[in-house]
Symmetry: C2
Subunit: 146 residues, 2 copies
Amino acid sequence: MADDSLRLDEFLCFAIHSTAHAINRATKPMLDQMGLTYPQYLVMVVLWGKDDQTVGGIGEKLFLESSTLTPLLKRLEAAGYVQRSRDPSDERQVRVRLTDKGRELHCRAGCIPDWFREAFDGDMDEARELKSRIVQLRERVLRHPE
Amino acid sequence: MADDSLRLDEFLCFAIHSTAHAINRATKPMLDQMGLTYPQYLVMVVLWGKDDQTVGGIGEKLFLESSTLTPLLKRLEAAGYVQRSRDPSDERQVRVRLTDKGRELHCRAGCIPDWFREAFDGDMDEARELKSRIVQLRERVLRHPE
DNA sequence: CTGCACTGAATCGCACGCGACATAATGGTC
DNA sequence: GACCATTATGTCGCGTGCGATTCAGTGCAG
């Protein structure tokens, strides 16, 4: 009984973990060609959606801390995809902007969703359904601390 | 159109990533009390299910490489939860065994599934359903390289 | 029995990811 | 104007996670 429930719970947790890693590994060759890691890709997606955001704003969307984002953004800047600068009106904030090179990457990023659609055999309804269930779980977990 | 599909795909991928991290963060306080990280907990679960396994065997179940497991297992050994030793019949393999302290931890680990059931409001059918869909996705991703 | 391909672990370098802490700027309050 | 809590970012240490490589042991071919 205690054994049974232990198994069930961790299998869902573990299923999520291992699937996240599987996606990470599977997309790596494509992202390598763009010179991005998966977390860097996510940051670029956020910026493609809306340019000129603060570190905190990006972190809020991606559930990441500044301690994670700062080094990551420095690598994106070193790669020439973004440009970081202090907001003159509030020197505490750092605004992150896409460079031309970063914007150009947007077009080349289409292969990721293409790949994903293939892996899903085009069943986008299933994908949407699954996404909403997972997001629901995430919200429950976030709301249920300790 | 391309924009739309870009958004959908990464939202499922991202939903999985962020949920995995959320679970990680939420279970941390409980795991801290046991002196385990989440990946270490997963290794213990594997060993609680079947003691005396090789590094490769554990890695196969958890989709992890030896480069990840070796340091992790050394930390578990340093913590006194497992014991590692070369298999005398095949000196290439390292067998990992639970110590008494490691077995004892099994009883204390019940709080993790308890917490999870709470977070899920006891709807274990939903959990099972979701798990099977995610595992299906994982298998598709693993089978669909490039 | 001597190579030689193969296998299983371990090592190395790099990139997350976070908690704890440090730092700097802001916006009050007195 | 000086103090002080708050906010935004950055730094540090530790633990994953992986690809590339190394190394020791195995086992097969000749």
